[in-house]
Every structure is written in structure tokens, then in C-alpha cells.
């Protein structure tokens, strides 16, 4: 926001220098407009699979036990018949229950609000999966091959959406998680990614103008993924 030529009231957020740690100055989040989310379209799910290498390399696990970092959920109001769909993934809570229950410290929240699993520490107990109200986490039951460098994954550990943390670390405010990118390339543009702490970011401005809903706001988790239209 410029108040005079060359004088900025607030600094435009830039990507952090690569050698600096993430800080709580940022809180990354996403706003998903369910009115733009097309029923039957799963581009975001496919985009996430391609980016993070899940969905193809579990060959021996039962279908209901394979990893699912992001899923499409169909909602239908029984009284009116109004149907809508939305993508559901890790909601990157400010007070994540998965972190509360983790006995080893593997499930943790980064300073910038992204909730991750440190698989080096994870013992595969799956308490986090039980604690998560959004069913966002998956457990890997079998030896995997052909993982991608950006998303190491392996048997005996729990995993979930990382908010494409490798992209966020690289590009900061200009990053676009793979789900959002895939949605954009389908022309739906249902996702807005950005910094909830920065009042000038597009996500903050959209939330200030039109508001947003947290799924299960009653739990008081203050999630980073907000929805509009539900």
C-alpha cells in the first residue's frame, strides 16, 4: 500500500531468503470457493498426486487404506436437494490435535503454520489419524518405490497434505500449491493461496471482504484452510 511515491505503508511480502528459517511472521492458508468448485472434477486431487507422487505406487494395500492427501467431498442438503462439492485436505490448524497427541514429536506445526509429519521421527502409531477431525492423514502399509525427491514417503509412517511446503519455501507469497495450480489450469480458480498474517495478501483481502467458513469451527482449532459457499 503506497502512501507516497516510494513510501510503502506495509512491506510487500517476499519469499524468505533460502538460507533463513521460516518464521511466525507468516501464516500460510488457503481459501476455497465451493461455488467455483465443479462437481465431478478432481483436478486438484490429480494435481496433488502428480506433484507428491502418491496414488500410483501402493499396489498391495487395500483400496480403503491407500494414501489420500486430498479428497473431493460431495455435500447434499436433504431438504432442498442442493448439492455441492469441495476438496478436503489437512486444514493446517493453529491448534492441531494431531500435534497434541503425537507421542514422539513427529507431528508438528512449523512456525509459519504448516502442519507436517517428520517421518524420521514417526513411529507409525496413528494416534494423529484418530485425533484428526478431518480424516486428513494416511498411513503407508507397504514398501514403496519411486518416491519423488520433494515428497519422501515410506512404509510405517503417516503422511498428509504438506501445503506443497517445498513450493512455499521456494516462492513464499507467490507459491501456488499443486491443487490450486491444477484447479486454475482447469479454469475453475476455486483456490486462493496466501499469507493470513499479511492484511494485503489476496487471501486476507478476500476474507475481509466476503468472509470465509472454517469446517468444524466449533472445535476452536483456527484452521488455515477456509471455505466460502458452505
Amino acid at each position: 500500500m503506497a502512501i507516497a511515491p516510494g513510501v510503502l505503508l506495509t512491506q510487500v511480502a517476499l519469499a524468505k531468503p533460502a538460507d533463513q528459517p521460516v518464521s511466525s511472521a507468516n501464516r500460510w492458508g488457503m481459501l476455497i470457493d465451493t461455488n467455483k468448485c465443479a462437481k465431478g472434477c478432481d483436478a486438484c486431487v490429480r494435481g496433488c498426486e502428480t506433484e507428491n507422487g502418491w496414488g500410483t505406487n501402493e499396489t498391495r494395500s487395500a483400496e480403503n487404506q491407500t494414501a489420500q492427501w486430498i479428497r473431493k467431498v460431495e455435500l447434499r442438503d436433504k431438504s432442498t436437494g442442493f448439492a455441492q462439492s469441495l476438496p478436503l485436505m489437512c486444514q493446517h490448524c493453529e491448534h492441531p490435535p494431531c500435534v497434541d497427541v503425537c507421542p514422539t514429536g513427529a507431528s508438528f506445526k512449523r512456525a509459519d503454520g504448516i502442519v507436517l509429519v517428520d517421518k524420521h521421527i514417526c513411529i507409525g502409531c496413528r494416534y494423529c489419524m484418530m485425533a484428526c477431525p478431518y480424516k486428513a492423514r494416511s498411513f503407508i502399509h507397504e514398501d514403496l518405490q519411486d518416491q519423488l525427491p520433494v515428497a519422501p514417503r515410506g512404509k510405517g509412517t503417516v503422511e498428509s497434505c504438506t501445503l506443497c511446503v517445498h513450493r512455499v519455501d521456494k516462492d513464499g507469497d507467490n507459491a501456488l500449491p499443486a491443487c490450486a495450480e491444477a484447479c486454475n489450469s482447469e479454469g475453475h480458480e476455486a483456490f486462493v493461496f496466501g499469507d493470513l498474517n499479511n492484511p494485503d495478501s489476496r487471501i486476507s483481502q478476500e476474507l475481509a471482504k466476503h468472509g470465509g467458513t472454517q469446517i468444524r469451527a466449533d472445535l476452536g482449532l483456527n484452521v488455515g484452510i477456509r471455505y466460502r459457499g458452505i
Binding site: P21, G53, D143, L144, D146, P152, R153, V165
Partner: protein, 162 residues
């Protein structure tokens, strides 16, 4: 008598070694691992991120430290990153040669198999430079499933326990 038996035994051992084709230590020296050359340099001025002797001795400490920095603090610089080790030291699939972690030609395994040190990094991490899972050849996928299964045997079936 005992001396004669001992002499005979050592003679037999020598003949046995020659017949079996084992290299005689005195002739060929200590066998050393054949460590493949890196495919690229880290930068124009540096071959590797640290001097070779330092890397040989302390690479595990460096990648462990970097691992925690990357995971918890989001520091993803190339220095000491496992991904960059692989990018320089293991040939890309596009080079026409697919080298997996179970191969003696894989940089990490060339030494670790020699030293008898088993590592589990590559149960999760990519063992070769990869950009997109979908761009891989089918041959690579077939090779890998056979090779990795041999390297990390599956748990015995449930029946074996009961």
C-alpha cells in the same frame, strides 16, 4: 610332528586359495570399493560441498543436521542436502543408465555395501535424480520393484507367526 602338520595345513590353504581364484593379499593389496565418479560438479569452483576426506568421515552428520533444518525450518539450500548428493553422484535416468540403490554402481551403495553399513534413507527418499514420476520409463519401474524387494525383504506373512 605338530610343526609338519601346521606347514602342511598352510600349504593346503595356499593351494586352495590359488585354485579358488581368491586374490592373495600379498599380491593385490586390500580390496577397495569402486566408488563411481560424480556426474556433475557442485559449482565451478568446488567439486563437492566439502573436501573429500571431510565428506568421507562426516557426511552422515552433515545430512542429519541438514535434514532437521529442512524439515522443521524450511531451509532448502543445496549445501549438504541429500537431494543434491543424489543429483551429482547418481546418473539421471535420461543418461540411458538406470542405477538404483541396490546396485554396486550406486554411489552410496558402492561404499556402504563394502563397509557393511546398511542405510534406510532410500526406503523413503528418491535414490536417483527424478523430476516427475510420470516421465519414468516402464523398464525402470519393473527393475525397481524387483530390486527393492530383494533389498528390503517383506515381513513374513501372518501365517508364519501363528
Amino acid at each position: 610332528m605338530a610343526v609338519m602338520v601346521r606347514k602342511l595345513r598352510s600349504l593346503l590353504l595356499l593351494v586352495g586359495m590359488i585354485l579358488s581364484g581368491l586374490p592373495l593379499t600379498a599380491q593385490s593389496g586390500t580390496p577397495l570399493p569402486e566408488v563411481p565418479e560424480a556426474t556433475t560438479r557442485f559449482s565451478a569452483t568446488q567439486g563437492c560441498v566439502e573436501p573429500t576426506a571431510e565428506m568421507r568421515k562426516n557426511h552422515m552428520k552433515m545430512i542429519l543436521h541438514k535434514r532437521d533444518q529442512t524439515m522443521h525450518e524450511g531451509i532448502r539450500t543445496p549445501q549438504h542436502s541429500l537431494e543434491e548428493c543424489i543429483n551429482c553422484h547418481v546418473p539421471d535416468d535420461d543418461s540411458g543408465k538406470i542405477v538404483r540403490i541396490d546396485s554396486k554402481e550406486h554411489f552410496c551403495n558402492s561404499c556402504h555395501s563394502y563397509a557393511g553399513v546398511s542405510i534406510d534413507c532410500f526406503q523413503c527418499h528418491a535414490d536417483r535424480p527424478v523430476k516427475d514420476i510420470r516421465t519414468r520409463s516402464t523398464a525402470a519401474a519393473v527393475n525397481s520393484s524387483v530390486a527393492v524387494r530383494a533389498l528390503w525383504p517383506a515381513w513374513p506373512s501372518r501365517r508364519a507367526y501363528f
